[in-house]
């Protein structure tokens, strides 16, 4: 999948390229790994200073060339709602910036205003509105503008939904689902209470100049049709109109495009000593996610090997008890397993590119401010 910001690199693996001088092993380990001891992780922060190892003739400064050589993105899983990819060769702060932007700054559409016509259900108006706000909408926010304070709601900044359900007397209880929200591409159908001016048309709460059907090819419904909004008893009814606007997750979590987005550093499990026979069996049993396996050495001898370090959840079982000295758990400092769970408005890969764009914009802003 082609992506912005993805630069292919030539044949380097996740080890950063060494300069002429090599650091001693233990320092190299501290530089590139977070070491997860049984009691507490150590060396979590790493060294930021480029000249930290200058005395040993090792230059750890950042340069675009180096970055371009080392940086790599590998998509591991991609579905409609979520994706997992590896981001290799960046500092934690960069990975974190993407995560933060994804959660808080990529815009989406969410219901912000609710006009209650009738609500005789047990749910209070405010609570019902709050619930409506949290429903993910299937609307591409890139098609819309932000609505600022003195904007009139129009087809470019507002999506209008209608909900009109009632439960007949004598019928069993009714569950109102998000699927019953009906998109009104022509704008609001509610008339303003103020006396109509001499104009020909009754004024409604929106002023659409064209149908939203012209703006969006797909219908702007809700993403999931089975979210319970309310329950109605016999004789109760809900009638309302909901206006969705564009916003960002910083303001309210309902505008966050992701359920969550996070990363973890690549787990690395190393056997420091050869573990054989019974001990090997024990070690394999200890791990709840089967990181270890048994290798048959022939003549009845067995040896433990690390087969799936990636799935390690860091339960630290393997570094407790007798095997403490034999296993080393680490996290690779510049290899991030990034997961994005989209709420549905945009597919996860698009979300990520959006996030990159926003970061770019920010950088440009800084540069322009500085110059």
């Amino acid at each position: 999948m082609p992506k912005k910001g993805t630069k292919s690199t030539k044949g380097t693996d996740d080890e950063p390229q060494q300069q002429q001088n090599k650091l001693p092993d233990h320092l190299e380990l501290q530089r590139t790994r977070v070491i997860c001891k049984a009691g507490a992780p150590t060396h979590t922060e790493g060294f930021q200073y480029s000249g930290a190892y200058a005395a040993m003739g090792v230059d750890t400064s950042v340069s675009v060339d180096k970055f371009c050589m080392n940086f790599k993105v590998e998509v591991k899983r991609l579905t409609e709602d979520d994706m997992e990819f590896d981001m290799i060769g960046v500092d934690a702060s960069i990975a974190n910036a993407f995560r933060r932007i994804l959660i808080a700054e990529v815009p989406t559409m969410a219901i912000e205003k609710v006009f209650m016509v009738d609500n005789t259900s047990v749910i209070a108006d405010e609570v019902l509105s709050h619930r409506l706000g949290l429903i993910p909408l299937d609307a591409d926010p890139r098609l819309f503008d932000y609505m600022s304070e003195n904007d009139v709601p129009n087809e470019r900044n507002t999506i209008v939904y209608k909900l009109h359900v009632s439960c007949q007397k004598g019928s069993p209880r009714l569950t109102v689902k998000s699927g019953q929200l009906e998109w009104l591409p022509e704008g609001s159908q509610l008339n303003m209470a103020a006396p109509a001016q001499s104009g020909n048309k009754q004024k409604t709460y929106t002023s659409f100049s064209q149908s939203q059907k012209d703006i969006s090819k797909e219908s702007l419904g809700v993403k999931f049709k089975d979210i319970t909004i309310a329950r109605l008893g016999p004789g109760q009814a809900i009638e309302l109109e909901a206006h969705a606007v564009k916003g960002i997750g910083k303001v309210h979590a309902k505008w966050s495009p992701v359920a969550t987005a996070w990363y973890k550093m690549l787990p690395e499990v190393v056997l420091l000593k050869e573990i054989k026979d019974d001990d090997a069996e024990k070690l394999v049993k200890k791990c709840p996610v089967n990181v270890f396996d048994i290798e048959d050495l022939g003549n009845g001898e067995k040896r433990a090997v690390v087969t799936k370090p990636r799935s390690c959840t860091l339960c630290r079982e393997c570094v407790m008890g007798p095997s403490e000295e034999q296993v080393r758990l680490t996290r690779v400092r510049d290899h991030f397993i990034f997961t994005i769970e989209s709420t549905g408005a945009l597919p996860p890969e698009v979300l990520f590119t959006e996030a990159v764009k926003i970061l770019e914009e920010k950088c440009e802003r800084v540069i322009s401010e500085l110059s």
Partner: protein
Amino acid sequence: MTVADDDRECAEAAAKDPNALPAPTYKSLAAPVTKSVDKFALLPAFLKVRGLVKEHIDSFNYFITKGIRNIVKANNRIEARNDPSIFLRYNNVRVGAPSVQVEYIAENITPHFCRLTDRTYSAPVIADIEWTVGKQYDLKRKPQFIIGYLPIMLRSHTCVLNGKDEAELARYGECPLDPGGYFVVKGTEKVILIQEQLSKNRIIIDTDSKGRVIASVTSSTHEIKSKTVIFMEKDKIYLQLNQFTKSIPIIVVMKAMGMESDQEVVQMVGRDPRYGDLLYPSIQECAFERIYTQKQALQYMDDKVMYPGAGNQKEGRSKSILRDVFVAHVPVNNGNFRPKCIYTAVMLRRMMDAILNADTFDDKDYVGNKRLELSGQLISLLFEDLFKTMNSNAVELLNKATEKIHSSPLDLSLHIKTDIITNGLERAISTGNWDIKRFRMHRKGVSQVLSRLSYMASLGYMTRITPQFEKTRKTSGPRALQPSQWGMLCPCDTPEGEACGLTKNLALLTHVTTDQEEGPLMNLCYNLGVEDLSHLSGEEIHASYSFLVMFNGLILGKHRQPQRFANAMRMLRRSGKIGEFVSIFVNEKQHCIHIASDGGRVCRPLIIADKGISRVKEHHMKELRDGIRSFDDFLRDGLIEYLDVNEENNALIALYEHEDQDDVQRSSITHIEIEPLTILGVVAGLIPYPHHNQSPRNTYQCAMGKQAMGNVAYNQLFRADSLLYLLVYAQRPLLTTKTIELVGYDKLGAGQNATVAVMSFTGYDIEDAIVMNKSSLDRGFGRCIAMKKYTVTKEKYDGGFSDRIVKPQRGKDGALLKQNMRALDEDGFAAPGQIIRNHDIYVNKQTPKNTNRGSGPPLTDRDYKDSPAVYKGVDGETTVVDRVMLCSDTNDRLIIKCIIRHTRRPEVGDKFSSRHGQKGVCGTIVQQEDFPFSERGICPDLIMNPHGFPSRMTIGKMIELLGGKAGVSSGQFHYGSAFGEPSGNADTVEDISYTLVKHGFSYNGKDLLYSGIVGHPVQSYIFMGPIYYQKLKHMVIDKMHARASGPRVLLTRQPTEGRSRDGGLRLGEMERDCLIAYGASMLIFERLLISSDPYQVQVCRKCGLLGYYNHKLKTSYCSMCKNGENMAKMRMPYACKLLFQELQAMNVVPRLKLTEG
């Protein structure tokens, strides 16, 4: 301790059920028992038949079925004073169905109707009456005569809710989880709290404040309550009674009762020479007084009677006092004082025992010496008093009527004022003041408003026991935890502060007895070989082999084989021949058998064990689970019995059947606990792993659990409470306890499962503050609804005028005249669903300008002035009109109740708490992206500082976190019931850790977290998982307050006080001291004068008094010196000027001496 003597074994063999095991040998005991019987199912079964507040309901039921009959029967005939043949008689009293009289038609009512319409949920007390009319003594009968209306306890026999299932309750608008046991009086729910009292009619040996040994008895009969005290001073023994001015030597009293021979007295007390030695000084004193005969003794006592009464009546007074007041509960039949003599002798004997052996003192705080007075008893006291008042009133009225008009019909039924009872009961319950003149009883706060803050708060009220002492006493004795409380009273649930340890709560399985008929029991005792004392000499009474048999404090007789007698009685009880709550207690020390059937004793069910082998077997439990067997069947079959605190002393109770205790012989175990968690009460029962917490933390949680917001009842949205807090998304705790399920807290929870990370973050978490995740709040965490009721009454005035409610006034163009009418509907009331802001009108009411003009022409619009009800809210908050309810009150006025709803999201300063007494305010709210996150992408909802743990030692909270984490990962609720690990009612930490590891977590619950701000891993593993958090009712929005200049008090012109009056913040004495010490004199000047109440006065330099300023002449003038020559201007606080003038009014002259400044 039980003595397993031969008698007992015989009895037990007989009582053994056919499929019992053979007597166990030592070997069979040592053999490991694979599976213990799961007795837990007994608990829900018990609560099903009993409910949570059965003691209240039982007590009230006893009153309406038996008590009220006995009271009326005892006073059923009233007669005219001068002609006894003019009479009225009540027959067949009963309580009807709850109803109200509407235009002479009885209309049935439901509790919810009463709550909403401010009515009393009461039922008529109906009697059949017959009476004579006139001098001809015509006998008339009326079958359905209503004596008065009695407030009805919800869920009692006569309540409409009794025995209804969930669907029917829903139809009545009632919550099925509501326990009942309270009253609805004038629309408010009132609980009559359980009152703790020292037991009646029992001898208590104690020392008084002067260190004297005293034996006291509080006697209580239907007629009289009295307190008899016998004490020893300077080796001599005296009787103290209120009716005598001085204390009376006890030997004189004995002689006055007819025991003239000193030898008999000594014999009666006991032949032990040590008793004789102790009695000797008293006998000697009596001899000094030269009192040898009954007559002399009575004469001596007559001189000391407190109120000699009218002159000649003095003679014989002391005899009647001895008969009626002195140990009043011991009856004197046909002038036979012997039972009283014996009783006094027993008192003396016990007293001397105590002197000789300090172990035999009674402990006033011992729960067995306490009685709990419940609503039934309290109401019956009140009812009896009111009934008698009503009758005597009727007689009085009849008397008066005949005196005035001779021809008036002599008809008693006309003079019976039924509202004496109706109003009396209603007033007492609604004010909580119990005033009964006859018993000189003036109690305040007997009934209290049932708190509906949360479900737990209401339940807590129902189990609360209020103390007998005033709370101010500093003594620690009654406050301390008593060993005898075990299983009866909750050791955790007590308030902090002044009532600490005095106010207690019932434990989960406690039952409070009601009175049981004494006659048949007494006969039974005699049949079982109790020898009546009247035929026995003192010598025989105290023979070493025989035990005295005390029945409800009376001496019934003696028995030669006490153990056999006790076993026989117990057998009868277990087989259901006598009531299950009768207690048989063998007191080896006192050589007594106490049999009690009186009301107010606390008792609890226990499984009977034969030589350590439980009678409840697996097949019984299976039958219970299959629904074939109920809890009552267990009682009936003698598998379970109730033991009260005294009888527990004869039992050896094991926690578990199959557990070997180190120092106890298995075969001596007589009973087995049903479940150890039942030693806690309802409120303490919702704490998970309370046995791992430091005990005060559990106590704190008991107080806080009652302030937590949540769901109040199923009908919460249809209630009209004056203030109701609801949590929007209340959850069931992930880590539950068995008690939670039993009481229904899982259905009406008050909190949410929050993912908590225990770490330090941002620094805004010092002092127990918590850091909250903004996105969690956005998504609904901690959101609550506050509903407030505002009531408006449409007043009625003389002449048929009344207030009126008008539609909002509009101008010509249809626009509202005033903006604050925007919430109003066209009918003049605020419309439900409307947003209402500060200063908006919610009822557009108008009042006639002249309200007392009597009748006249109909009023026009001009005769009304606006008197709208204006909403006072917080500026900038949107509140919504939830409901508007209209009803008419008992005076037929229209009542408008507006319920205004405010939905709030948590903000900085709101108070939260976990279930382990760990409260904290929200310190700051942080964006989700700044929050740390785990490798699974989990982001905590709130962060708690780890410093909350070391000093509080709430290990239970840590286990809750672990258990909750294991619960969410395995999809099961984990349990943390008190002391539940051995019986499987609580998951062990080992099991939980195992589950955690299985799901890829660390066994210790600590995860690697990444900092959300910088992006790299946090330097330590963070303890993270779900903990149930409660939002407490203390919210910043209700408390925050500040003001600039504002309203002032009229009198002193100083700023007002208090938030509700928009008051200023006082710069008090201590603050002033600080400023003085600092030397900020101008600041003090500014605060105390300029910003408070500056005032300019004219002072006369000559006389030093205040003058005035004449605005017309533009001069100042001294009214004392009658001139304006020496006047000076001065500024001082207005309060100071006021003080001078007030002093002058009191004839004190304050003079000011002025010097040039």
